[in-house]
Amino acid sequence: MSSTEHTAETHVHRDDIGSRMGMWLFLFTELILFGGMFLIYSVYRFEYPEAFHLAAKELNTIMGAFNTAVLLTSSMTMALSIVAIQRNQKILSIWLQMITIFLALFFLVNKYFEWTAKFHHGIYPGSEELLSKGSGEILFFGLYYVMTGLHGIHVIVGMVLIGVMTRMTRKDIITKDSYVRLENAGLYWHLVDIIWIFLFPLFYLIT
């Protein structure tokens, strides 16, 4: 961590447990960040149960379910890549990481088509079509865009992160003996996955 090559006794500070702990703390903050949104969701759901029910019918459950499967698979490949590096199978680990990134991209493309389909129907924040609907539906779609959007940003961040990990694995910075970074990236990716697992039923399955 610290650059100490200039002092007399060079010590390289390495603390895997500490790094993991820092990562978990960061994940707590992420959970609370989304927790705030889930709270808002539940308040408005309670206030407008029927409108939420109706609005959810407009979402494409099949596409949502497909995306859930994609993301779950990516979580598996991510976990496998860590197992691979633990077993010193560098090439396999790199492949698995790249598959994870590919699946994440696939998820986003899917999401893109889903969003644009909604746009074509005139359902986007501030649109006349949406504003003509009731308050509950305005709130539902507002939350839908914001929550899946914020989740999408997390997917992008995750892709970049895993990309960096792939590079580090290739350069032997992540190895059989030192893979805490990859593990932390994995933790982050599982968080992204878990948040989607909550988003999916809340938006798609409440019809």
């Binding site: 603390d15 820092g22 703390l25 927790g35 705030g36 308040v43």
Partner: protein
């Protein structure tokens, strides 16, 4: 002590962190340094600049209020100025103040570590702090003018006003992130990097309070992050979330805002309480009284403090049960706070008290914090709160706690660790004069606000009825005395960084914690050998004598 300073010279071949030359030198050696001590100083410098900006706005605000009607600015400017004063003081001074400056500088020293757990993340948090600060400042200069919503950004006004609210929102968001990173770093540091033998109950008390603070930073800040982000999205894209015109619930916004912003006041006050617990034993030459009670009361404050937010909203509409629960919890927070105050006073009892400048600030802290704290309990009572809600009584209470508490705690810490930080001593006489100006000015400035608030003077008002003028006048005069004290203090410290009397002894105050056992100023990685801890942090020999005498009598 003479013996000690002789030993330093004989083994003082390692350069101090101030003279240390790493990969980069000069200015780059500072702004790219991951050394926790240098980052602490970086925070100190940037924080002081923002503090002065905040003070300027405060003084202008007071000046406007010296007489009813227009005095020096129009109402819109006044609205912007109280917003900026709030945003800058809260997000750029009081919240990061003690943890980022002194937490960074002394936390690793206090626990016998070479640095924090994540030095690079530490530096990153400083950059985010600066970026957030600049965003808040830039908004002043851009067309549209600075935000005029108050630091609370209440909906729906914050989505309707045409001023640069976005900048203020993003500034607060980024500063929140910086605060989270600091908290995350400190929690991990305390868990992982304590010197061998330093068990939880051998940690100095300011470590306990920084640790509790760090948890609140980690757990509460994301809520304000997402809430402000949602307000920004609502402004920018017209997404319906809080705006009642789109079906949203502005009261929900207030809840989410205060879920962070109330615990935030404990982020602000807890480290100051830690500083007080650190300074009192040194200048009373007594072992701290009730170590475990002080330690656990920090945790209790962090815990209870997170569950009282709705007492800011007694007047906006809430169920009776809700009001009852929040009122009760609010009063419960007073218990751990009072435990601390009693323990501090008990430590002073029969101590050999030396009224050095840090001690003066600490005593002022106890006095002012008690006034602020007790008026806080008053406001926790529902009926009283309905009377004083949104009056300058609240402003007075808040400043007694935040400025009289955290502010004076910050100054105490500054005067206490100054010789360790810079290897120089300030002019002690001038420091005491400055203290008295600050103390008197503070009370003259804020005490009249209690009275006029009680009589019905609303807060944030540009104009007022003539019967309030005497109070406003006294208050404004107080602000001048306070500023005079501030200028004296800043001049003294600034001047002493370069020209103060050189301090080479390790332990100029006679402190017992680890930072006083290393070189002044500390070397690059603090400790040549990591110390082994086998005793409690506060052990004064005098203490036993005092106790013995007590037993005899």
């Amino acid at each position: 002590m003479a013996v000690e300073s002789a030993t330093i010279k004989s083994n003082g071949h390692e350069p101090s962190y101030l003279e240390y030359k790493g990969k980069h030198t000069g200015l780059l050696g500072w702004i790219l340094s991951t050394d926790h001590k240098r980052i602490g100083i970086l925070y100190l410098v940037s924080l002081s600049i923002f503090f002065l900006v905040g003070v300027t706005f405060g003084v202008l605000m007071r000046l406007e209020l010296i007489a009813p009607g227009r005095t020096i600015m129009d109402a819109q400017t006044y609205n912007s100025i109280f917003t900026l004063h709030g945003v800058i003081m809260i997000f750029l001074f009081v919240v990061p103040g003690l943890p980022a400056v002194f937490g960074n500088f002394v936390l690793p020293l206090l626990i016998g570590a070479k640095d924090v757990a994540f030095p690079r993340i530490n530096l990153m948090s400083w950059y985010m702090y600066v970026i957030g600060g600049l965003l808040a400042i830039v908004a002043i200069l851009l067309p549209g003018g600075p935000a005029d919503t108050g630091w609370t950004f209440y909906i729906p006004y914050s989505v309707r006003t045409n001023t640069n609210v976005m900048f203020a929102l993003f500034a607060a968001f980024i500063l929140g992130f910086s605060s989270i990173l600091t908290g995350l770093n400190f929690v991990t540091t305390v868990h992982r990097l304590r010197a061998p033998g330093m068990t939880w109950f051998k940690m100095p008390l300011s470590v306990w309070s920084l640790y509790s603070t760090a948890w609140v930073q980690v757990l509460a800040t994301p809520i304000i992050g997402i809430t402000l982000l949602l307000v920004a999205v609502e402004r920018w894209l017209g997404v319906g979330i809080f705006d009642p015109a789109l079906g949203g619930d502005p009261v929900l916004y207030q809840h989410l805002f205060w879920i962070y912003s109330h615990p935030a006041v404990y982020i602000m006050i807890l480290p100051a309480m830690g500083v007080v617990s650190e300074i009192i034993p040194v200048f009373a030459r007594r072992t701290i009284f009730g170590y475990k009670f002080i330690a656990f009361s920090s945790i209790a404050i962090a815990l209870f403090g997170s569950l009282v937010w709705a007492h800011h909203m007694f007047t906006v509409g809430m169920s009776d049960t809700g009001q009852f629960v929040f009122s009760l919890l609010t009063m419960l927070v007073a218990i751990p706070s009072a435990i601390k105050v009693f323990n501090w006073v008990a430590t002073l009892y029969k101590g050999s008290i030396e009224l050095a400048t840090p001690m003066l600030f600490v005593l002022a802290f106890i006095f002012l914090f008690t006034i602020g704290g007790l008026t806080g309990v008053m406001q926790g009572i529902l009926t009283v709160d309905i009377q004083v809600h949104d009056t300058s009584f609240i402003v007075a209470h808040f400043h007694y706690v935040m400025f009289g508490g955290t502010g004076f705690g910050f100054f105490a810490a500054l005067h206490y660790w100054f010789p360790k930080m810079f290897g120089r001593m300030y002019n002690r006489k001038l420091a005491k004069v400055a203290f008295w100006f600050l103390f008197v000015g503070f009370n003259v400035l804020y005490f009249p606000m209690f009275i006029m608030g009680w009589l019905g003077m609303p807060r944030r008002y540009y104009d007022y009825l003539p019967e309030f003028q005497p109070y406003h006048f006294v208050s404004t005069v107080g602000s001048w005395i306070l500023v005079a004290g501030l200028l004296m203090m800043i001049y003294n410290l600034y001047h002493s960084v370069k020209k103060g009397q050189v301090v080479t002894e390790k332990n100029p105050w006679g402190g017992e914690t680890l930072e006083w056992q290393i070189d002044t100023p500390p070397i690059h990685e603090n400790f040549t050998d990591i110390p082994k801890i086998d005793s409690d942090p506060y052990q004064y020999k005098m203490n036993d004598d005092v106790l013995e005498k007590e037993e005899v009598s």
